[in-house]
Amino acid sequence: MSPSGAEVIRQIRSSVEEVDPSEVKSGNGAVLLDVRETEEWDAGHIPGAKHIPRGYLESRVEGVVGSDRSQRVIVYCASGQRSALAAHTLKELLGYENVASMNGGITLWKDRGYEVEVPRTLSKEQRERYSRHLLVPEIGLEGQTKLLNAKVLLLGAGGLGSPTALYLAAAGVGTLGVVDDDDVDLSNLQRQVIHTTDRIGTPKVDSAEIAIKGINPDVDVVKYKTRLDASNIMEIIDGYDVIVDGVDNFPTRYLLNDATVRLGIPVVSASILGFDGQLSVFKPHDGPCYRCLYPVPPPAELAPSCGANGVLGVLPGTMGLLQATEVVKLITGAGEPLIGRLLLYEALGATFTELKVRRDPECPICSVDPSEISDEQTGVFPDYEAFCAAAG
């Protein structure tokens, strides 16, 4: 006679290592895996845990836990029963050697008064809108929640800012700030895809807002119809999580660098000319800053603008979307951001070149501890126009 379900569970529980919640609380490098259903996870889970509903265990475990079979994995559910079954599967079928089930599940965890995290839940419409993100283990609900809570500032709604804004809006970045003092011009439309022919003459910030809201009404658009300068930069950039730099001149790039290093805000920076693009991520004190890469700006004859020299219309699309990708990575913590590396793209030859960028121990900006900068100094900048002009 076949054994009863209860008997099978008893047998499996006796063969699986069980650990007490107190042991789980102390951590010890184990991956904590919640195998309950999504509604149960949403109602509250152990902070730092990963989630795979038991029915998806085999198909998703490598993406979530990793393929290292010696990785310590502790599984939990509501009471310790489903987790024991899942632990058994991980061990016997999938070959994870170091698996345990948490005794008593999250019920006992809560009884002990240990911390429970209640995630922001998505509406039905949001679940559908972001479903392709939710399916990617590196993003998932946790990453999508981070995106929805994130504030990203776009400097310029032009060539680079256009594709970046569109995709970040689609990705569900909660707040998009847009700084631009220009109006939409016919000559912009060859590459600035956020604007349209019927919006020629409209302020770019307004045109961008229409496009962003058209894609995703969830996004809060904050418009700054102004030019970033020393008098307004600290006020504008404060409170943003990431800044996307696509500005068209050196004085603003140096100003932005100095202000973001002082405030500790990462900058995803790109520039384009002709058929060439450059991209890097400057994360203050984790990697080099813009001045470590370029201590002084080039003279005017070696720094032509796109307005003067032209640019392939598709190129800001390529570079802007690489920027958007880096922004999503910085917010969600997925992957290895382009910190300390400079990526060069040459469109005619279709080549990418990666160069190392080192922190300059003598850097006048990022070698100084921001805590040593007084309030009086913060927001006080040298005359960048003169600095850049002097280099010429």
Binding site: L155, G156, A157, G158, G159, L160, G161, D180, D182, D245, G246, V247, D248, N249, F250, R253, A270, S271, I272, L273, G274, F275, D276, Q278, L293, Y294, P295, V296, P297, P298, P299, L302, A303, P304, S305, C306, G307, N309, V311, P316, L342, L344, E346, L348, G349, T353, E354, L355, K356, V357, R358, A391
Partner: protein, 92 residues
């Protein structure tokens, strides 16, 4: 001969080429050979005192020569030098 990757702003000075070859045992020698072949690059790369302009970054393969031995960094036959001035194009 080392390969030198030429940035867009310097291409007019080397007849429009994206890459040129030049001989030299170290970075300084290769760049001076480049300036000899293409005199228009001389003032863009070097100051009056013969030192490399501060706004020009030079990489040996993927490493900034400033963290190596600068212009004295040894260059092998199959090495690539990348000349890189800053670019600011973006929004406009």
């Amino acid at each position: 001969m080392a390969t030198i990757k030429i940035p867009p702003v310097l291409r007019p000075s080397v007849g429009g080429e994206k890459e040129v070859q030049a001989d030299g045992a170290d970075v300084g020698a290769v760049l001076r050979a480049l300036a000899e072949q293409h005199p228009a690059t001389q003032s863009q790369l070097f100051g009056a005192d013969g030192s490399l302009n501060r706004y020009v970054n030079v990489y040996l393969n993927d490493e900034d020569v400033r963290v190596l031995d600068g212009l004295d960094t040894t260059v092998g036959e199959s090495d690539t030098l990348v000349i890189l001035p800053a670019m600011a194009g973006g929004a406009a």
